[in-house]
C-alpha cells in the first residue's frame, strides 16, 4: 500500500506541475514578450566607471492590473532595480523582487534564471531633463515551467532535509538508548511494564508483558502525550527494534508494530503546545481554547486507529504475519 501512496504522490505532483505549466503557457500567465510601461525613479546616477543606474521601478496598481488582469495588484508597486543603458533608448533592467512585490512577480522571480531577480530588456528609455526619472517599456525574460522547476528544487531540497533530520537524530538517539539500557539493566522497565500490564496486554497480545519492547513503547507514548517529541522519536525507534526481535518474518510488519504506530500517528497529546503558540502569536484572546477539542480529535483518531489495526490484521489480505506470503 505504501508503494501506491508513494507513487501517487510523485505522479500526481509531476502531472499537476506539468499541467499547470501548460495552462500558464497557454494563457500566457506571465505575459511573456509583452511590453509593460513603467517609470524608473533614479536614486543613484551612473558614472563612467559604474555604468548602472540605481533606482526603483514604479508602477500603479491600475497599470499592473491592466497588464496582468484585474485584482493582480493590491497597491502601487515600487521595487528596487538597476538599469544599464544600451544604444539610444534601450537598456537592460534587473529587478530585485522583494516580499512587497505583487504575488505574480514573486511567482515569476522564483522561476527566473537568477532566483528572486527578474531581468528585462527596456526600450523607449526617455529620461526627464534633470535625469531624476525615466519612462520606458520593459519586456521581462520569458518565464516558463515555474512549477516543474519548483518540483525539481523541492525533490533535491527534501532529499537533503532527510539526511539532516537523520543526522540530527544521532545525538538524542544515543542519549535515550543509553538511558534505556540503564533502566533495563536496573529492572526499572520491569516495574513500569508490570504496573501497566492490564492495559498493554489487551493492546499488544502478541508481546510478552515483561518484554523490553513494552517498556520502550510505554515510555514513547508517555513522551508523546507530554509533547516531548525529542524524546519520543528515539524511544519509539527503540520500541520498534525491540518489537522486531519478536518478528518471525523480518521485513514484514507485525500486528503489534501496526497497533503501536496507530497510537503514534493518532498523536494524542495533553497540551498541543505548537498550535497554542501559533494562536498566541496570531493574537488570539484565548490560545488554550483548543486543548479540549484537540484531545477529543486526537482521542478519536487514536481509538479509530487502534480499532482499525485490530480489525484489519485479521483480514486475509493482510494476514501474512509469520507465514509464507500467500
Amino acid at each position: 500500500m505504501l508503494n501506491y501512496i508513494w507513487i501517487s504522490l510523485i505522479a500526481l505532483g509531476i502531472c499537476a506541475a506539468a499541467g499547470s505549466d501548460i495552462a500558464d503557457e497557454a494563457g500566457n500567465r506571465y505575459r511573456n514578450s509583452e511590453a509593460i510601461p513603467v517609470t524608473f525613479t533614479v536614486t543613484r546616477r551612473a558614472t563612467p566607471l559604474r555604468p548602472a543606474w540605481e533606482g526603483t521601478v514604479d508602477l500603479s496598481a491600475e497599470a499592473f492590473d491592466a497588464v496582468y488582469g484585474a485584482g493582480a495588484a493590491d497597491s502601487a508597486i515600487r521595487q528596487r532595480a538597476t538599469l544599464v543603458r544600451e544604444g539610444t533608448g534601450g537598456g537592460r533592467l534587473a529587478l530585485a523582487v522583494d516580499p512587497s512585490a505583487p504575488a505574480r512577480w514573486r511567482e515569476m522571480a522564483r522561476g527566473a534564471s537568477v532566483q528572486d531577480n527578474l531581468s528585462a530588456s527596456a526600450s523607449g528609455v526617455a529620461f526627464t531633463a534633470d535625469s531624476a526619472a525615466a519612462s520606458m517599456q520593459i519586456v521581462f525574460e520569458p518565464i516558463r515551467f515555474v512549477k516543474l522547476r519548483a518540483v525539481t528544487a523541492a525533490a533535491l531540497d527534501y532529499a537533503a532535509t532527510a539526511v539532516t533530520i537523520a543526522i540530527g537524530l544521532i545525538g538524542v538517539m544515543a542519549l535515550w538508548l543509553g538511558l534505556m539500557s540503564i533502566a533495563e539493566k536496573a529492572g526499572l522497565l520491569h516495574v513500569l511494564t508490570r504496573a501497566l500490564a492490564p492495559l498493554t496486554r489487551r493492546l499488544f497480545p502478541d508481546v510478552p508483558p515483561d518484554h523490553p519492547a513494552m517498556g520502550a513503547m510505554i515510555m514513547n507514548i508517555a513522551a508523546n502525550m507530554l509533547g516531548l517529541s525529542n524524546a519520543a522519536t528515539p524511544l519509539g525507534l527503540k520500541a520498534m527494534e525491540e518489537l522486531n526481535r519478536l518478528n518471525p518474518k523480518l521485513g514484514t510488519a507485525t500486528n503489534a508494530m501496526v497497533t503501536f504506530l496507530a497510537i503514534n500517528t493518532g498523536g494524542l497529546i495533553l497540551i498541543p503546545a505548537t498550535a497554542i503558540a501559533v494562536r498566541a502569536a496570531a493574537g488570539s484572546a484565548n490560545p488554550g481554547i483548543i486543548i479540549g477539542t484537540s484531545i477529543i480529535g486526537a482521542g478519536c483518531a487514536t481509538v479509530a486507529g487502534v480499532a482499525a489495526s485490530r480489525i484489519l490484521e485479521r483480514l486475509p489480505l493482510y494476514r501474512r504475519e509469520g507465514s509464507s506470503r500467500g
Partner: protein, 181 residues
Amino acid sequence: MADALRTLINAVAVAAIPLVIVVFLVWGLVRRVKVYEVFVEGAKEGFTTAVRIIPYLVAMLVAIGVFRASGALDILTRILSPVTSLVGMPPETLTMALMRPLSGSGSLGVMTELMKAHGPDSLIGIMASTMYGSSETTFYVLAVYFGAVGIKDTRHAVPVGIIADVAGMLAAVWIVNLLFR
C-alpha cells in the same frame, strides 16, 4: 480550574526529562549497575539506527516535497471541497486536513496562514488549530519507524494510519462546529 490543570501539565512536561534521567540513574546506582559503561554500550546503537532510516526518509520526503511544490494539493482541495462541505468542513480547512498527515512544517505553515487570513478565534482558525493538534504526520512516522527496522511490507499500517487521520479530522470538525459555531 482549566488554567490550573494546564499549568500543572506544563510543569510536568518541563520537569519530565530531568526527572526521568535522575530516577534512571539513581535506580541504576541502587541496583549496582555500572551506569557509565551501560550507558555508553547502549548509546552506541544510536548512530546505526539514525543512519539506517536515511533511505526510507529520503524516499518519503522527496515524494512529499514534489507533491507539495507542484500545487497538486490545491487541485485536490478544489475537487474534494464540495464533498467535505457537506460535513461542515470549510474548504479553507480542507487544505489543512490534507496537509496534516504529509508534512509537519507544511501544516504548520497552513495553520499560520489561515490564522492570519481569518483570525485565530474565528471558526476556521479554531478548526485549523484543532486539526493540527488532532493528528500526527502519519507518513513521516511510518517512514521513520518502519525504516529503523527495515520493514518494507507494511501490511495494514497505511490504511490504519489513514483511518486514524480521517477520524481525527472529522472529530475535529464535529467538535468545533458543536462548540464554536
